[in-house]
């Protein structure tokens, strides 16, 4: 007991957190397994009866939970990529290649002093970051991550997305006003003007696409782009895509349109007086915004979860060609695992050691200085890589949602990279140049796009 107390006293705060959480989680997991084992059947029946509610609760929970890792990942990517563009190293020490840095930042903002400036309207001050964050998170409800993986499939999904995105302005205005600070007020007004101005080209640029698609449901729009990459809407609406991307950069307060957080002008704009977790919320909301704007670009214009080339015809061709070559049984077994039963289990148990030995042998035999256990370790790691790759390939081929999710995330993070790239490269525009650009260039261009699309549709239709 005293040894435990002594160890406890010597721990730092993160250590104490780990020491408390890990046993707690272990107990909870054990309890959960016991509950499932005992009452699993009954629970599954109840869930099956209320599938709609279950689905909704699951979707809401997953979305709320997943925004945090996404934000962390975006923060890390931004720091690292901008650093590499600046010929610096970026985060390097905290985790493998610095990946744990954003997690540490998140913990740090939790531990900061939480104050409200005197004279500030404390209710509005506290709720401003919540509103911004909630608006960003709500938009994820309609994003289709993969076939079958979405929150809700509204038939006005796109409208819902823009409506929720617009709610973010309210949060910025609240933050700017409630801070009792002229810098914040200026920043809040600037950002409100910017976001409201760019909402119009943003929404108008996709109306052309809506005419072509005929629906506002994001799921349907993605399904309409299945096939190969020439079916994607970016080739049918190139001007719309361009306007949408630029307007999305401005909506997300990203460089070159990041005057609201221009830290060389009005310090931090609307967020000047915020610190601690409140600032953390604004920060997270911005990075979630980057993700969802990239995701929306991908969903609307780049085919969402569709792969650029369909792999099913290829697989059928393989399945069709191989019997002609005399290879039948192994392939059918590989594609139908339930065939063998108990012998298959034995086979599966033997595969890892055999694979390790096979992959270790070349290293051991070809390098005279290699010790046998080092060769075994290398073989084991390689086997894991190979087996993991094969399993991934099988999952990709067999489960539609794995393939779809991978393509969706890949394309989304490519656009996140473009956003980060712009931040590292471009200086920022002035507020009057920004407003002029929105109202004098993007808006007419969006209208032009709309008219040409409508005209073309009528012409082709008739």
């Amino acid at each position: 007991m005293t040894a435990l107390a002594r160890t406890w006293g010597r721990l730092t705060l993160p250590g104490k957190v780990v020491f408390t959480l890990v046993p707690l989680l272990a107990v909870l997991t054990a309890g959960l397994i016991a509950v499932i084992a005992l009452f699993g059947g009954a629970v599954v029946d109840v869930l099956n009866a209320n599938l709609g509610i279950v689905r909704f609760v699951a979707a809401a929970t997953i979305i709320l939970v997943i925004t945090i890792p996404i934000a962390f990942l975006n923060i890390y990517l931004e720091m690292k990529i901008i650093a590499l563009m600046n010929l610096r190293v970026g985060p390097d020490r905290v985790g493998p290649w610095g990946t744990a840095l954003s997690v540490v930042h998140g913990l740090k903002v939790l531990m900061k002093e939480d104050f409200t400036p005197s004279g500030a309207d404390s209710v509005v001050f506290t709720w401003a970051p919540v509103v911004t964050y909630a608006a960003a998170v709500l938009t994820m409800l309609v994003l289709p991550f993969a076939p079958g993986l979405y929150g809700q499939d509204f038939n006005i999904g796109l409208l819902f997305f823009f409506a929720m995105g617009g709610l973010g302005v309210v949060g910025l205005l609240m933050g700017g006003w409630a801070s009792f600070n002229k810098y914040s007020l200026l920043g809040g007004l600037r950002s409100a003007a910017q976001i409201i101005s760019y909402e119009i080209p943003l929404t108008l640029s996709v109306v052309g696409l809506l005419i072509l698609a005929g629906t506002m449901s994001l799921n349907t729009i993605v399904e309409q782009q299945s096939g190969w990459f020439a079916d994607w809407y970016v080739f049918r609406q190139p001007l719309g895509f361009l306007i949408f991307f630029i307007a999305a950069t401005a909506e997300g307060n990203r460089t070159p349109f990041d005057l609201t957080e221009a830290d060389s002008e009005i310090v931090a704009g609307f967020a000047t007086e915020y610190s601690g977790m409140r600032f953390g919320f604004f920060f997270f909301a911005e990075y979630v915004n980057v993700f969802i704007l990239s995701a929306l670009t991908v969903v609307l214009f780049l085919g969402g979860w569709n792969a650029p080339l369909e792999i099913d015809p290829l697989l059928e061709w393989i399945g069709g060609v191989l019997p002609g070559l005399g290879i039948t049984t192994p392939v059918t077994i590989a594609l139908d695992p339930g065939g063998l039963g108990l012998p298959l289990l034995f086979l599966l148990a033997l595969v890892p050691p055999i694979g390790t030995l096979l992959l270790a042998a070349p290293f051991y035999l070809l390098r005279s200085s290699m010790r046998w256990w080092v060769a075994l370790i290398i073989g084991f790691l390689l086997f894991n890589v190979v087996a993991g790759g094969l399993l991934m390939a099988w999952a990709y081929v067999s489960f539609e949602w794995v393939a779809g999710l991978l393509w969706f995330l890949g394309k989304t993070f490519a656009f996140v990279f473009v956003f980060v790239w712009m931040r590292g490269t471009l200086p920022r525009v002035r507020i009057d140049q920004l407003m002029g650009f929105a109202w004098k260039w993007l808006l007419p261009a969006a209208l032009l796009n709309l008219f040409v699309t409508a005209f073309a549709v009528v012409l082709v239709g008739s």
Partner: protein
């Protein structure tokens, strides 16, 4: 937790809080002392006063600017200086001649050699000392290297204030090389303390020459690549063109010097107008631009860097052998008299006016800094424009608060 030194009317913390709420206005708590102050602090309908600084990421030091804004448009400005005032002139009156040279470095800390140079020139006039030719060439060589590093820093910060995060880091790569090579001879990366009365403190050495050779061989393309990042960038050009235009006549009346003056069309460079050191023997041009806006100042600094590279090249070829320090007695007693020396620094005319009373301590040591006068002109350059334009003008004028506040 910060402690508040003002008298509280009671120990109740809520009393302090209530007192604090009203004290956020930049209006000073005393009646206006001058006409201009009265005019500035009386607000029309719809105007507000905002403080930029002193804690601010883009004021190039610790400077406070009280801005009178109408919405986002600047109506008037009142810079408040003195946050970095260290009383250097008074300190120099109590120090002997060698110690004053060390006091000169932290003034324009980015271009320290140009701060030491007029000081040693003024003393050399008071002591009637002839500086050996090799020392003069070394002074010119290291001075031009310092000029390049200062201009690169200025251009990098210009980009940073406008939002571009990358060019400053590229500029600092070059600056790091230059600073390392100067550290090889002076022992310091930044506040060099290298010039001495009668010469320089130590000859060039092998490390310096090899670093210089390496750097010179790729300097031109590297500088071109770095500045090419921004000179053709549409956003950068549109932020800078036509902002902060100063015409030639007003610039002369506002006592501007240096690249800011030359960007307004006045080809005044002390190295040619009132030659000192060995500049008459070196062949270089005075780049001048006519537009007078921030973009012209930015591009002019690039041109000056190229001219400095030419000068360095000629120095290396023409450098004579010989001593690097004149023979001087250990205790220096300058003649009673006055001396004025001015050099062309990266920001303009940097001058020292020394009055000596025959002792080894200067009687009066006046430091004239060019950025002091550039800052004064904000009131003519910026009203009618936006806060973002003030940022651009401030960055393009390249002030260094250490020199301004002395």
């Amino acid at each position: 937790m910060t402690t508040d030194h003002r008298q509280a009317s009671s120990d109740d913390p809520r009393v302090l809080l209530d007192e604090q709420v009203g004290v956020f206005e930049p209006v000073p708590p005393y009646p206006p002392r001058t006409e201009r102050e009265a005019e500035f602090y009386s607000l029309e309908d719809g105007e507000l006063l905002i403080n930029i600084g002193p804690h601010h990421p883009a004021t190039h030091g610790v400077m406070r600017v009280v801005m009178k804004l109408n919405g986002e448009t600047i109506v008037d400005l009142d810079p408040v200086l003195g946050y970095l005032h260290r009383g250097v002139e008074k300190l120099c009156e109590n120090a002997d001649l060698h110690q004053t040279i060390a006091y000169m470095d932290p003034l324009e800390y980015v271009s320290s050699l140009f701060c030491e140079w007029p000081a040693v020139m003024a003393y050399e006039k008071l002591l009637d000392v002839e500086v050996p030719r090799r020392a003069e060439y070394i002074r010119v060589l290291t001075g031009e290297l310092n000029r390049i590093s200062s201009h690169l820093l200025a251009m990098g910060f210009h980009a940073l204030d406008l939002g571009g995060l990358t060019p400053i880091l590229y500029s600092f790569i070059e600056r790091d090389e230059i600073v390392e090579m100067l550290a090889a001879i002076t022992g310091q990366r930044m506040l060099f303390n290298y010039f001495r009365i009668g010469g320089v403190n130590g000859d060039l050495n092998h490390e310096f020459m090899s670093r210089l050779g390496d750097w010179m061989s790729r300097a031109t393309e590297q500088v071109e690549a770095n500045v090419g990042l921004l000179s053709e960038n549409e956003i950068f050009v549109r932020r800078n063109r036509g902002i902060g235009v100063m015409d030639a006549e007003t610039a002369i009346k506002m006592c501007w010097t240096g690249p800011n003056l030359r960007a307004s069309g006045v080809p005044f460079d002390i190295r040619r107008a009132h030659p000192y050191s060995v500049y008459p023997e070196i062949d270089f041009d005075i780049p001048t631009r006519q537009e007078g806006d921030s973009l012209a100042r930015y591009l002019l600094r690039i041109d000056e860097v190229k001219q400095s590279l030419r000068i360095i090249d000629q120095c290396l070829h023409q450098m004579p052998d010989g001593p690097v320090m004149a023979k001087l007695p250990r205790l220096l007693r300058p003649r009673p008299g006055r001396a004025f020396a001015a050099v062309e620094g990266p920001r303009g005319e940097y001058a020292i006016y020394a009055v000596s009373d025959g002792t080894d301590q200067p009687f009066r040591f006046r430091i004239h800094d060019p950025s002091f006068l550039h800052l004064q002109s904000f009131g003519r350059l910026v009203p009618g424009k936006l806060i973002a334009d003030w940022m651009t003008v401030n960055a393009s004028l390249d002030p260094i608060m250490g020199g301004i506040d002395k």
